[in-house]
Symmetry: C2
Subunit: 251 residues, 2 copies
DNA sequence: GTTAATACTTGTTCTGAATCAATTTTAACG
DNA sequence: CGTTAAAATTGATTCAGAACAAGTATTAAC
């Protein structure tokens, strides 16, 4: 259960997500300094934009509850989804190079974030080497995630893509201390299809078949994994490969 | 013509690529400090690895001449190519998050690099805010490139992928002050096919057709563009879209 | 300079996923 | 709560590009 008010009030030192946001090297004093520059915002409603393409870069954001889909509008008007950001993830760093956001972040649920003004963060980071390293590390992880995404898109079959995606989510849930076999995901099948480079029809068909085969089901925003081993095999991860997650900036 | 010895001796202050590597904010004094930590290495031969998957992270590298293909080995043994790094580009930052390289960089030609030990770089960056910002900006650009790669893989047809790739190269050449219509590229068609998520056969067929149609030719490592406008149309960039490059860390 | 290996080309067949189309289900809103 | 719009499902058809195969051209090695 989400309790927006208490989350809204929580500071970094008290936040249950702090180990996710800044896993390394900040002692209590440093944490308080970080805390001082973080602004906790009122919840965004489903469909609200956190930032949009072209907006000047002001801050990075940590997801506390809910989530975002981040997309770029392509020539044809259809948007390509580059990633999903769930609690503990940090987003907005895409704007760093140009000073303007190159993508749009839309809340997929009622969502609360911490806003970290980037100027302040950069100034603080210049005084706290470990925070600075953490920042670089964060971006490096994003890059690794995006590469995995690209690999998925270029070499995997539709079934592999979908099962791999669910497997990533499952592992992510577990890493966060939640059930890896039963969880909620407030994403449209359509959005997942876009992310995976597939059509909604194909996703629907594969979901139907995998439910039939008792591997997992995904209905009404609820995912339930019946046969994790089968899922691993279908995802092509049976006896090899790295166990990275698709979006693990803060894990 | 490459003259390895003179390149080998050049320092950052004299280097023709310095505007590419560090476009922002370093004055002469700062540049000298950076120069002091950079190690210029003897040339690598074609096929040599600059770093390989799993190796501990020691340094980032700036390409001076030649180039690299960066790939990750997938389950099946085939490797997925995540990018190409040409003169002026900086590579190696993928290892930052984990402390170990998650990919392998292979020289595609006789190649010279500057090695920048990361510990030194990070220490220096903590004293030079503009260098630190530059580092973050670099990673942000890499991320943007990887997203463009993912978008190309998920939504573009084979012809669009290939023409877009050539267009990116062309623009990159121009930005570097070289001819955008006639240049050398020491890549195998096979590697480009892997990068684009296609088979060598498909690449070969499309190249044959585009040469036939007098759009561009690519034979014996030499690319020649006959009809840039047609190329732009085929790449699906006719009257819209951003003009980013695929690998523009230093441009 | 000859040989061996690797890369590239070209043709044919086949298939996975897109596309088109028609319902059914779910969510949104007054 | 009923109405309407959006999303998801299911089916039929099509097609772009993969896979397979067999040749030719380059490049590398000795």
């Amino acid at each position: 259960m989400i309790t927006p008010i208490s989350l809204f009030n929580a500071s970094c030192t008290e936040c249950g997500l702090k180990k996710l946001c800044f896993p390394l090297g900040l002692d209590k004093a440093d944490m308080l300094r970080l805390d001082a520059i973080v602004k906790r915002k009122y919840p965004l409603q489903k469909g609200d934009a956190l930032f949009t393409t072209g907006q000047p870069f002001q801050a990075v954001y940590a997801v506390r509850a809910g989530g975002f889909k981040v997309s770029t509008v392509s020539a044809s008007g259809e948007d390509q989804i580059s990633g999903f950001y769930l609690p503990g993830d940090i987003l907005g760093t895409d704007a760093l190079a140009t000073g303007n956001h190159i993508s749009t972040a839309i809340a997929i649920d009622t969502t609360t974030v911490c806003e970290v003004p980037f100027q302040d963060l950069e100034r603080l980071a210049s005084q706290l080497p470990s925070l600075n390293h953490q920042l670089l590390s964060l971006m490096s992880k994003e890059l690794a995630d995006e590469r995995m995404h690209a690999e998925l898109l270029s070499r995997k079959s539709a079934e592999e893509r979908l099962t791999l995606f669910v497997l990533w989510l499952s592992r992510r849930q577990e890493r966060r201390g939640f059930s890896g076999t039963e969880f909620r995901l407030g994403l449209l099948h359509r959005d997942v299809a876009l992310y995976l480079g597939l059509t909604p029809e194909t996703v629907s068909r594969i979901l139907a078949r995998l439910a039939e085969e008792q591997v997992f089901s995904w209905r009404n925003k609820q995912i339930e994994i019946f046969d994790l081993q089968a899922l691993i095999v279908l995802a092509g991860e049976s006896q090899h490969e790295k166990t990275n997650s698709p979006r693990a900036q803060c894990g």
